[in-house]
Amino acid sequence: MTSTEATRADVCALAVAECFRGDGEIMVSAMGTTPSLGARLAKSTFEPDLLMTDGFNLLLRRALPLGAKPTDGDVEGWMPFGAVFDTLWWGRRHVMMGASQIDRFGNQNIACIGPWEHPKAQLLGVRGAPGNTINHVTSYWVPNHNARALVAKVDMVSGVGYDRAASLGPEGSRFHEIRRIVSNLGVFDFNTPDHRMRLVSLHPGVELQQVIDNTGFELVIPEGVDTTPVPAPEVIGVLRELDPQGYAQKEVVV
């Protein structure tokens, strides 16, 4: 990828980066290609204080291109799994996870399809999603926005949504926040009175009806929906440097 014209994947990467704006000196854990690229874009541009690992156990002082191996000069600290758990329970973390299914309150499923006792399809399992979502800020990335992913009811609640968190009361839910969902079609949040999912912006070239038709529940649609910002040429330049192989371009369904 050498073109300086913004693709849908570039728009998504910037929208992901924007999820981390204002986070400051906390650890970002971004699962998957576009989340990794977006988080690195944020660190390289407007959120230089973010802490990020190499995906294993090294904290890196600068954002490396996707797939690049860190050298000793890139390292600033150590984050083995024991320290990851301590950090997430401490709350100084913002994770962006994928979601095989997600509902209108942001309940996320990565565990299985069908009944858990005898799944039709075993997926990843709940992994760290329950602990992440109840302890610190979470955002989600959905590369293929359709009515099988954005569903009325998820098969198994792995990541906790707003209705489940509210049922815990103000004490139990006080560290719960789902910042935003970025899909290949738009950006969504939960800034509504009852924390139902709201359309924030449509990516350039996406029609509102396309989002409605591909969402398995009724979204809150405010008047005058914005268009997701398109990265400026210099931002596209940073994205090309951070993803020279164009991995994110292949991930995003247009």
Binding site: F56, N57, L58, W78, P80, F81, G82, F85, L88, W89, A111, C112, W116, E117, H118, P119, K120, A121, Q122, L123, L124, G125, V126, R127, G128, A129, P130, G131, T133, I134, N135, M156, V157, S158, G159, V160, R164, A165, S167, L168, E171, G172, S173, F175, H176
Partner: protein
């Protein structure tokens, strides 16, 4: 000091049908695979395995030795979902206790500290509590009165871990960048066994890496096994990386009964020495 050196087969002699075993490492990283292979040769049945799961759980699913799996995940890392585990789950043949990864750690810590449980927010509001009706919550006895998940201790009968280096009396060294939780597995167990790439003198052990790498001390283990390649095909840095080619071959056997039989005959129904010869060729 006690000389605790023994063979893998002597170590697994302690394991009998129906036991709960803890397996160290993480996913497809520094797994005590020589012990796993020895348990397959021994043919113990109805095992409960407690593990940050990888091919250990997968292999026991495939051999039918596993009754119950207690896990935070079961992954081969470069292959996100363990294929034999997937098969067992989708066939409905496995009794599974699926926990959040952090809950799993607290269960190990509780066992190591001889506590019945440790409290956490992880799991609250999620279906982890629904699929595990044995999990209970606990109310803070202090003024906050907050409700937490009480993660029950993950006590195990026998634990197995693999280190880079060890001495004959059971001091063990993890030279990779992540110690994982192998010390807790040993402390959560009635008895623990450690394999290693190389048994060295205590002097060599202490000078072979930073003191922080001495993760296991001799109180924690009843036996030490020198098993070069003992974590193969999982990674054991800095000694070796994961054998991705071999792992792909293993993973492919989940979809092909004949391929699994051939894999088992070639790599599992053989001695550890013959296994190492087979993978070297």
């Amino acid at each position: 000091m006690n000389d605790k050196r023994m063979t893998v087969d002597e170590a697994v002699a302690e394991v009998t049908d129906g036991m709960t075993i803890g397996i160290g490492g993480w996913g497809s990283r520094r797994k005590p695979m020589a012990f796993v292979r020895a348990l397959v040769r021994k043919g113990v049945k109805d095992l409960t395995v407690v593990s940050y799961g990888g091919p250990d759980i997968g292999i026991f699913c495939a051999t039918g030795q596993l009754k119950k799996a207690v896990y935070g995940f079961v992954s081969l890392d470069s292959i996100p979902l363990e294929p034999h585990f997937r098969q067992a789950r989708q066939n409905g043949t496995l009794d599974a206790v699926e926990l959040d990864e952090g809950m799993f750690l607290l269960g190990l810590r509780a066992a190591a500290q001889r506590l019945p449980f440790l409290p956490t927010r992880a799991g609250l509001g999620s279906d982890v509590l629904k699929i595990n009706p044995h999990l209970k919550t606990v109310k803070s006895p202090y003024d906050d009165g907050e409700e937490f998940v009480a993660v029950p201790a993950l006590n195990v009968d026998v634990a197995f871990v693999h280190m880079n280096r060890a001495d004959a009396s059971g001091n063990g060294q993890a030279l990779g960048r992540d110690p994982y939780f192998d010390n807790l597995f040993c402390m959560a167990a009635k008895k623990a066994f450690m394999s290693c790439e190389k048994i060295v003198s205590t002097d060599e052990l202490v000078s072979g890496g930073p003191l922080q790498s001495l993760l296991i001390n001799r109180m924690m283990v009843s036996g030490v096994v020198e098993a070069p390649g003992g974590a193969h095909f999982t990674e054991c840095p800095p000694d070796y990386a994961r054998d991705e080619k071999f792992q792909r071959e293993y993973a492919a056997t989940a979809k092909d009964e004949e391929a699994w039989k051939a894999f088992r005959a070639k790599y599992l129904d053989v001695s550890e020495a013959d296994y190492q010869k087979a993978v070297a060729s």
